[in-house]
Point group: C2
């Protein structure tokens, strides 16, 4: 026996509602990374954590163990402060694309190291890879150079950052254990702390299209993550934002890379203000940098620096199919989850790690909640390269929207709450 614990005793402890000790947590995360704890053991432990919970100290230790499983980056040699944003994932969430160049245009460097999308919430990298030539994989030296030169980089997180999390995330995804606050919080924060950003803004989505369906859950997740970041010396703020209906007018990959409807612009500016303030520049106003075109300049330079052609036409889908309104009235509800699942089934998302996604697949919204519609008018446009997918996408949209007589009670702002 060279190992200090046996996996079954750690699993049994959490199964039986005990606290895991610091040595148990350190060992189980490390042994899982080394392959000594088998996937079927970690997945039973993850389910026990999901159902029986972990307290703040266990979560903090678990996060530290995941950070310790890999390397840490250091941006302290850059000439400007750093700030990063993380979204817990939602339907139509393309905010990173305008946000990173906008914040860079305000003099704050944005090291946005992202993962691949899984499930119904598309990934930022998938959206950018819809731009011909653009590449997601950069070396650490390339990241540093681009941050100094352009000020913003959106790229794939290297395998060296929190490898325990990478392995655990893939496992949770196939084993029904994504929706656990301790595991979500430690997963996100281990990567962001290891990434080395000086400050961090968390966009915690709430509603049917998000992992967190209810406000209290989302607030608990936000508080947990803010505490983890603060304890690790990263200035961390969280905004709770509405995800009951898709953000913007598109859900998918290529279809989301452009455009700027009201809710997207509002959220982008709200997040940018937090990032700029967190990086110590509360005097700078992102709204100006967006209006005067500086943000767009940085966007073009950022895409070009990674081999992408900012002027290339986006891929177009081979097939489209229109869903129309069946009555006159006001669109009172358009469910985010249903639209996300439809986009996923059309080919925008993957069901297994490594699976190819269709760059042109997705859903375009022709109306948003509160809009007046007429019977026969297009509500949604489905895009795919593989038309046999339309039937299952349409099935996902059954009951996804309501048309009524009176205007619905919508949130005054996409930002619902703030945690710092």
């Amino acid at each position: 026996m060279t190992e200090p614990f046996d996996a079954t005793e750690v699993i049994a402890a959490k199964r039986d509602m005990q606290r895991l000790s610091d040595p148990q947590i350190d060992w189980v995360v490390d042994a899982f990374t080394r392959g000594v704890v088998a996937p079927e053991q970690m997945s039973a432990l993850a389910m026990a954590i999901l159902l029986n919970g972990m307290d703040r100290e266990e979560i903090s230790r678990w996060t530290a163990a995941m950070i310790a499983s890999g390397e840490r980056m250091d941006f302290s040699s850059l000439s400007r402060p750093t700030s990063d944003k993380h979204s817990t994932g939602g339907v139509g969430d393309k905010i990173t694309l305008p946000l990173a160049p906008l914040v860079a245009a305000c003099g704050v460097a944005v090291p946005q190291l992202s993962g691949r999308g899984l499930g119904h919430t598309g990934g930022t990298l998938d959206k950018l890879e819809a731009i011909p030539g653009w590449r997601a994989d950069l070396s650490n030296a390339e990241i540093m150079a681009q941050l100094e030169d352009v000020g913003a980089v959106i790229c794939a997180a290297g395998a060296g950052l929190a490898p325990a999390d990478k392995k655990l995330y893939a496992l949770r995804d196939v084993a029904g254990t994504v929706e656990a606050i301790p595991l979500i919080a430690s997963s996100i924060m281990s990567k962001k702390i290891a990434e080395g950003t000086g400050s961090l803004v968390l966009d915690v989505k709430v509603g049917s299209g998000a992992f967190m369906k209810r406000h209290e859950q989302a607030r608990e997740l936000a508080e947990t993550m803010v505490a983890l970041g603060t304890d690790a010396g990263v200035r961390t703020v969280a905004l709770l934002t509405d995800m009951s209906t898709p953000l913007g007018l598109t859900a998918g990959n290529a279809v989301e890379a452009g455009g700027g409807p009201r809710d997207v612009v509002d959220l982008t500016i709200a997040l940018a203000r937090e990032m700029v303030a967190g990086a110590g520049r509360p005097d700078v106003d992102p709204a100006e940098a967006l209006a005067d075109g500086r943000a767009m300049d940085v966007w073009r330079r950022m895409i070009a620096a990674q081999g992408g052609d900012p002027d290339a036409p986006l891929p177009t889908p081979k097939e489209t199919h229109v869903v129309t309104a069946q009555a006159d009235g006001v669109l009172t509800r358009l469910d985010a989850l249903a639209v996300g699942v439809a986009a996923w089934r059309l080919g925008a998302g993957r069901s297994r790690p490594g699976e190819q996604v269709q760059a042109a697949a997705g859903v375009v919204l022709h109306a948003k909640p509160g809009d007046t519609v007429r019977a026969g008018q297009p509500l949604l446009e489905l895009h795919t390269d593989t038309p046999e997918r339309f039937a299952r996408a349409e099935a996902a949209l059954e009951g996804a929207f309501d048309i009524g007589a009176a205007a619905p009670d919508l949130p005054a702002s996409v930002v619902l709450d703030r945690v710092d």
Copy 2:
């Protein structure tokens, strides 16, 4: 999509406390057997079942799905009725060895198809393999011939019976999900129903050395299994029996193959009476067959029929170590679990499927609860071939027994309760 379900949706249903539907259960058990549902998915589902439970109908369907994963045997062509016994596992449980020949001597055929021991409760096959020459693997034709000729067979269950259970059991064992009533009940009953016995007696152990520590738990397990057997047309009865202290005077493999202390004889006769009655011969008295030597004759023929030499000396351990009483008084408690773990650490049990066990390893008891002891007198004798194991075995025995002034309050009989 050729599969009707995705594993994650089945896992999520049980995780979120929903009932699993019949098609979900049929699919997940079959897909796991085929390798379409991965071990890390089934292990998350097993943990969700452990923590959130299954109702009687779910358990019944799960059992049927495991039976359907393999072949079923049929003993209806035999000239005598069949009855089998299953024990949920306890420390020092060698009851099968005298019981099978005893029941056969009463005119009832006993097809005892067993699994390998795991954890602290040794397996029947491991005990018999301590007899030189004896072999556990018989063909179906050999089993039929021996049942007709000798009347009793104890052998390894073939790979064809409930292969889903075999695969699931190995997984539960390494992933901390053994202790779930729905999974224990369906595992035991799927094998016994597939085995084809006409009647069945369940020996459900209660106490520190058993999976079920408390009477109510054990009774729930017993009721669940009796219902499953009865619904499948197998006449099924359960006895709840005491496992707070080891049964008999030995725990291990070779050390248990002989001997007949009071508690062992009482339990053997109680179980034999139930088996004989279940097979429709309530008029036959097993106590007579034990006393007049007929049971011993069948034992010798049964061992010889499987290549074993009933007269061969049993293997002896290379090393022994004695644990003595530290005071005068009455032994008030001798913990079954601690003795079982000690025997396991001495080499009597395996921690991974397929691991070799030591035939001579185990623990011999020199006193049982209620016995008067003197300081310095031997209490326990530890046997092993590998003396470096003594330290960890002794550690397991720390606090395992109490010596007091007054006689302890012991159960009047090893049989505590009966469920039919």
